[in-house]
Each structure stands twice: as C-alpha cells, then as structure tokens.
Amino acid sequence: MDTQHPRPMDRDFYVQAREAATAAQVVEQVDFDEPGAFLLDLGAGETASIELLSGAQIVNLLPFNTADPDERLWAHETCLLEGLWLTRYSRLWGTMARFRPLLTILEDTVVTPRRPGEMGAHHHPVYGGAGTPASWKWAGGREGTLTTWEQFAAALATRALPTTLIKDNACLFQKTRLDAPAQRLDILASDAVTGDRVTLFAEVDVTLMLALSPYVDGASATADIDESPRPVRITRTTAVAQPLGWPYPDMGYPDLALYLDETGTRATEAVPTPGREAILS
C-alpha cells in the first residue's frame, strides 16, 4: 500500500452543496428501527441524512454503485486517503477499477468531548468488519440477534445479490479509540445525541445499505446488551448539485480498459492486466 496519496478536492463545491442541502426538497423520509438492513437508492447529486431519533445508535453503512454493486465502499483505501475517522467533507471511495468517490459527507453534527483518557477518540470510523455472527457469538452476545453481516446478507438477497459483496463497512455514530501499540480499535460509548445527523452527498447513482448495529450505542458489554436498536430517520432529498465527476480535468487517470470489459464492469476472465502480464516465471 502507499500511505500518502492526496487527491484533489474542490472544497468550494462542497461548501456550496452543504448550503444547498439545508434547503433541499425532501422526497422520501423513513423512520427506521427494525432489524434488517435498509436499502436506499440515491441519484447522483441527491443527499441522504441519517438522524438519531432516540439517543445514540451505531449505523453501519456499506454503499455500492446501484448499477454495478461490484463497485462498493473501499474502507481500507478510504482510510488511507481520509484517515480512520470520517467527518464533514470526508469522501467515501469505491473499489477498483474506478477508485472514485461514491459519497461525500456534507454534514456531521456529532461532537466529541475531550475526556481524560479518551485522547484520540473520534466518531464514525471507516473500518468496520467486526459485525459478524462470529464476533457477536465470541463476545457473548445474546442468541437470536441479527448481526450487521446477517442484516446486510438479507438485504442483498432482496436484490438477488451475493453475500460476497459484503466488505468492511463504515460505522456512523460509533465512537472508537485507537490503542496505539496494538493498533486495535476500542469501541467506546457514543457521544451522539438525539437530533445528531450525518448527511451524505451522492457522487454517482449509489445505493446505501444501512443497518442498525445490535451494539446500539457501544456503551454496554456485548453479553449485557438487552436493548433493541434505537430508531433513526432516513431522509432523501432532491439533487443539490451536479456532481463534479471523477477524475477532475487534467488529472492523471489510468486506462480503465485494462480492467473493465465491454459492459463497463470489472472483467471476469482470469487473465493478468493486459500489457503487464509478462511477470510470471
């Protein structure tokens, strides 16, 4: 991996989009409090807000290109580009071959107070991946609880999509602290409050796969959790701006024909990248 690779960003564009989002027309609003992931299709330029209705609730987010779900959140590369924790104007990047922004955060109202011993703790880590049935089980979680992985799997099934599309997800409203020597993420009680929200701008036609985490606000040991997830409100608005597209003009960009087939999706022939294949002995 390459650990420093800044990408250009037209900050003014997002400042204006954020302003426009405050006055955008609502086209869809759902209060969501049931187990089972929610799929929300967003057109390019539209926004979606996730707002807490009854205290802190971790909301897991795995976005994918609606027309080509193989292009989905690349949490590891997003971490390289944006850092571990997401906030206003963080971009959520998609997988190869296009490796472009899928979403940009226009608003994040969560405040992280500074408490003794919590130096370095922040909300919205882009790395998830622990919301599996095994994690829940080995941490002593209550039997019969639908984990994030199972919720994602069920939601994908409604569109006849395979579970192999599940990758590490972003964890909105989750508070974590990085244990520096071990580089492990400690989950802390979220500081988010009722009314806090995160607003996302769709850079392309994108589907948000959202699941309420059974860990609720992260405040209780897994074995002690007997509370159901708390409700959130999901609001979609009309387009607030025409996305700039990617790459920006005059930016170096690889020839995507090396990776995509004639349908515009990643080629599924088991061959090396053309022109870069003479590498095996």
């Binding site: 991996m1 599996t132 049935p133 080995w138 992985w149 580089q183 492990r184 993420l185 009680a189 870069r276």
Partner: protein
C-alpha cells in the same frame, strides 16, 4: 488505567483457541521439511497452492521488500482473508502467535503465524512491520505521482490469481508484510516507517485449511524510497529498487485441528 475509567465498553472478542495444539506445532518446527521453494522476481506477483497442514515462509533475499499477501480458501475461493475482522480481533500487526482470520459466515482461521524473525529496531513510534490491513497500491496511486504506472500490487495480485484460475474480483484487502506503518492514534492518518527487516528474515504461516496464496512484490520496494518526498524528491517508478522474495513451503507433519474448536 482500568477499562471502566476510560469508558471502554465493548470488550475485545476472544475466539476459542486450543493453545496446546499451537504449542505442539511450535515444538515440531525443527522437524518441518522443505518441499518446495520459489523466488518471486522483482516487481512481480505469484500464486501457489498450500495444503492444509503445510507451512509457508516469505523470506527476504537481499533486504526488506514490501509483500502484499492474499489468502484464499482453495475449497471455496469466495472465502478469503478478512482484514477488518483481523484488525478487530488480533490488532493491526501480524506476528508469531496471531491467527489469520477468514471472511464470514465461516469466520475461521485460515492460517496461523508460527514464526517471525524480524526484530523491531526502533519503537519510538507505533509503526511496526507486517500490517494486517491497508489493501494494495494500484494504477490510480501511481498515475497520480508518476503519470504512468508499473505493475502495481493490484496488477501483480491479479496475475497471481490468474495463475490459479481466478479473476481480478478475487483480489481482496490484504496483509502488508515487511511494510512498517501505523495509524496515528490522534489523527487516524497513516504514519510511515522503514521496514526493520534484514536479508534472510522470514515470516512463517501454518495453513489451517487448503489455501491459495497470492503475493505481490510492491513496486515501492523496501519502502526506503518514496514517491512523494517533495517536489524535487519524486522517484520515478522505473528507478525504484525492488527486491526478490523467496517463498518456501514445508510439510509440518501436523494435521490442522479444524474449526470450531472447543476452548
């Protein structure tokens, strides 16, 4: 400081482990028998099959060389290394004693790290070698800095998977062996370091199931040269020194215990 003082709520996940099994495995290491070896040439990738109960080593030949390492179940190639689970369960680095976890729904150990001869030279920062996460360099990274791109890790991994009959969608987020880095605990940004590996160092993994092992020798070489040191300090990719790695495969004589195990 106790966990409760700092507000730590969710305890680390502790999957069951049959420690006596891994003790026996360690004790048997001196009788492992080498059955195959292959030197992966500079700037390339490679794919091989390693049977359950075998072990494989990634050996530095001349000096440190960043190796992107993918592990996939040979039985079901949709089951592969799970970087997020690894980070959550075992932390950000891989070394002796760590199990290497696969994707849900099985979420089982694909391998176990049984040896790591690298010795950190400087613990002043939190950066260490053998990072458990971070994916792979690709054409986009290199285009940005050099205007062109070499055989990037994505291309090398794609070629390695092709050797095994699998296409590019099987390339997954991987371990970064002989890469020294860490996330800054305050900013969440990556810190860079130079690998502490010397020629002859190796890291060894025991295959808990039949594995497809795919490696890429990163065109960034040892990490000692940077693509982005400053306006006058960019190193064109074709000038960057890249070093070979030797893969050695061993019969261990120890049959995996299977999964799940009783604690």
């Amino acid at each position: 400081m106790s966990a409760s003082t700092i507000g730590l709520a969710l305890e680390p996940v502790a999957p069951p482990i049959d420690q006596p099994f891994y003790d026996r495995l360690q004790a048997a290491r001196s009788s492992f028998t080498k059955v195959d070896e292959h030197t992966v040439e500079r700037g390339t990738g490679y794919g091989l099959r390693v049977s359950a109960g075998q072990a494989f080593r990634l050996v530095t030949v001349e000096r440190a060389q960043i190796v992107d390492l993918c592990l996939t179940s040979a039985e079901d190639p949709t089951e592969h290394y799970a970087a997020g689970t690894q980070l959550a369960w075992e932390g950000g680095f891989v070394s002796r004693g760590n199990r290497i976890w696969g994707t849900a729904p099985r979420s089982r150990p694909l391998a176990a790290c049984t040896a790591d001869t690298l010795r950190p030279k400087d613990d002043a920062s939190h950066a260490r070698d053998h990072v458990s996460h971070g994916a792979h360099c690709n054409a986009h990274h290199w285009m940005l800095y050099t205007g062109t791109h070499p055989r990037t890790c994505y291309d090398n991994l794609r070629a390695g998977f092709a050797m095994l009959g699998l296409h590019q969608r099987y390339v997954h987020d991987n371990m970064n062996i002989y890469q020294k880095t860490a996330l800054d605990p305050h900013t969440g940004q990556y810190l860079e370091g130079l690998s502490d590996a010397e020629a002859g160092d190796y890291i060894e993994f025991y295959a808990e199931t039949d594995l497809l092992v795919v490696v890429s020798l990163c065109p960034q070489g040892s990490g000692a040269d940077t693509l982005h040191g400053g306006d006058d300090d960019w190193v064109p990719y074709f000038d960057m020194p890249v070093y070979p790695i030797r893969i050695e495969v061993y019969d261990t004589g120890i049959t995996p215990q299977g999964w799940p195990v009783s604690r």
